[in-house]
């Protein structure tokens, strides 16, 4: 595995086990690597749309499907709570972890709460809907809005 792939795996390891994105310093310590090399790997992964960084250029806003900041879309898997970036990613977290989970969110119109159990085969029967305002061709024009 090359260095950048190791950084990516360390980032996902932190999200999976700590429910949050690691700082550059944490990853540098974990990999016993140079801090600036890790920071450069963060920037490179962001340029490849693997990560979305916050304005400071180092803090992780998204490591899809995980969110580095609290959102309205939460997923509980084996007693651990994760934040997802959007409705799609909320189902993406159990899919990525290959584990059942419970998605909690809300109806954007009525704010009625959603609780959706997701097994390894998919979600329980539900009349709820997913709606995306932004066409696929423009998802990455402003991925935070999307």
């Amino acid at each position: 595995m090359d260095f950048e792939a190791s950084v990516k795996q360390a980032i996902y390891h932190s999200f999976v086990h700590n429910s949050r994105g690691p700082s550059v310093d944490e990853v540098a310590g974990r990999l016993e690597a140079d801090r600036e090399a890790v920071a450069e790997a963060y920037r490179s992964l962001a340029s490849q749309r693997v990560l979305v960084l916050q304005e400071d250029g180092e803090s992780i806003r998204m490591a899809l499907p995980f969110s580095g900041i609290p959102t309205q879309h939460q997923v509980e898997v084996e007693g651990r709570r994760y934040f997802a970036n959007c409705a799609w990613d909320a189902l993406g977290i159990p899919a990525a972890l290959h584990k059942p989970g419970v998605v909690t969110s809300r109806c954007e119109q009525s704010h009625e709460p959603l609780r959706l159990e997701v097994s390894l085969e998919g979600p329980e029967p539900s009349p709820w809907l997913f709606h995306c305002l932004v066409p696929a061709a423009k998802w990455w024009d402003d991925v935070v809005f999307t």
């Binding site: 595995m1 792939a5 795996q9 996902y12 999976v16 490849q48 749309r49 693997v50 899809l64 499907p65 879309h73 970036n85 959007c86 409705a87 799609w88 990613d89 909320a90 189902l91 993406g92 977290i93 159990p94 899919a95 990525a96 972890l97 290959h98 969110s105 809300r106 109806c107 954007e108 119109q109 009525s110 009625e112 959603l114 959706l116 997701v118 998919g122 979600p123 029967p125 539900s126 009349p127 709820w128 809907l129 997913f130 709606h131 995306c132 305002l133 066409p135 696929a136 061709a137 423009k138 998802w139 999307t146």
Partner: protein
Amino acid sequence: MLFFRSEEAVRQWCGDGGHPVRPLVGMEQLWTLAEAWYSKRLDPDYRRPKPAEVIEMLHRLGFLGEFWDPTSKALG
């Protein structure tokens, strides 16, 4: 990319905000998308799919039309 209780809620929200109503996706179909998109994301050798692969995946899962075409310039 949001959840809604019903089609009526989507239409109300879009109307209130002056937004177009986009294709509606049920939870089972969203799961197929989530699984196809994310099930290998944590693998060490995962690589992002190329645009042609994304189009093929979306077509295979039934996400058809200009809205779901990542190469389309038809929708603003």
